[in-house]
């Protein structure tokens, strides 16, 4: 793919220059730290807020609570960040006219899109890795160490769930001429998939259904099903990126 390295380098430098890398890593780090702390001290927090008068019986915290907090927090905020990162990826370049300018150089349209998608995926992967390491360390301090391989697999599955929303928003960013429209489409996808995930037969196969699988993996269990949902979500990502390329290759810029 001609020009892939050139565009990827430009994207990565831009992530550093605009401090997007630092901000996204900091937010993910925040939730990596916060999740085990919340799980460990939720009883004390409720007691402090209610002065012991609320009468809410909260069971003693366990390591499973820390993991559930992590997947929930990182999943929910991560989706939001994935949509915000992808919404302007192509639409903003089209709005400004920089996409047309860049593509006058010997850069293929496929390479242009692939580099942008890889840059977003890499940023999410780095931020999730930071978050995962911090969560693992704090969980080990406050509860007990989690199985390293299982926890790493859980972080990988969480990344896949975020990649689906990023890819769908990326597709919208290619099709639409405005980043706001693309962002709206990303949130619409989140809403639709969130509602559909309540259906027991399809829920585990949707990106939000992967959060449950991540919970089990982090605790050292193998969820059932696992291969089907992972394959389905990889297919979602590839289909969205394929559709983005198909739309972009004949587009008037």
């Amino acid at each position: 793919m001609s020009g892939f390295g050139l565009v990827l380098g430009k994207e990565l430098r831009e992530q550093l220059r605009t401090m997007r890398l630092v901000v996204v890593a900091a937010v993910f780090a925040f939730f990596g730290l916060l999740s085990p702390v919340t799980a460990r001290y939720i009883r004390e927090i409720v007691d402090a807020v209610g002065g012991g008068q609320l009468g809410v019986a909260i069971p003693p915290p366990t390591v499973a609570d820390a993991v559930a907090q992590f997947t929930k927090n990182v999943g929910q905020f991560g989706v939001l960040i994935a949509i915000l990162l992808a919404m302007g990826a192509v639409a903003t370049e089209k709005e400004r006219g920089t996409a047309a300018l860049l593509l006058t150089k010997p850069i293929g349209r496929g390479a242009f899109l692939a580099a942008k998608a890889v840059a977003i995926g890499a940023l999410l992967a780095l931020a999730l890795a930071v978050s995962g390491v911090l969560c693992w360390v704090y969980t080990a301090i406050l509860f007990e160490p989690l199985p390293v391989a299982g926890f790493a697999a859980a972080v990988g599955v969480l990344w896949l769930s975020l990649a689906v929303f990023a890819a769908l928003t990326f597709l919208a960013s290619v099709v639409a001429r405005s980043a706001l429209v693309a962002g709206g489409a990303g949130f619409a996808a989140l809403l639709v998939l969130g509602i559909a995930s309540a259906l027991p037969s399809v829920g585990p196969y949707l990106p939000t259904g992967l959060w449950g699988a991540a919970d089990a993996l982090a605790l050292g269990h193998v969820p059932d099903p696992l291969a089907g949902p992972v394959t389905t979500n990889v297919a979602f990502v590839l289909a969205a990126l394929g559709a983005a390329w198909w739309s972009f290759r004949g587009q008037e810029l």
């Binding site: 831009e14 401090m19 997007r20 915000l84 704090y138």
Partner: protein, 66 residues
């Protein structure tokens, strides 16, 4: 649990949250900074009052990169 451990746990969280808030406000007040929608006041209110999400929205969607 001793106070040193509590501080070691809480301080990084505070640093990230307060750091992002002040950094976003500092960035917003730079004279050359242009923001989506044009109103810096609205963005300042979002940064200050929308807890954690405000600075994220500002950094990822609020700034117009020249």
């Amino acid at each position: 649990m001793d106070i040193a451990l509590i501080l070691a746990i809480v301080i990084p969280l505070l640093v990230i949250q307060v750091g992002l808030l002040f950094w976003a406000l500092y960035d917003l007040t730079r004279p050359e900074r242009r923001v989506r929608g044009g109103s810096k006041v609205v963005w300042a209110l979002i940064i200050i009052f929308v807890n954690l999400l405000g600075p994220i929205l500002y950094f990822l969607a609020g700034r117009e990169e020249g």
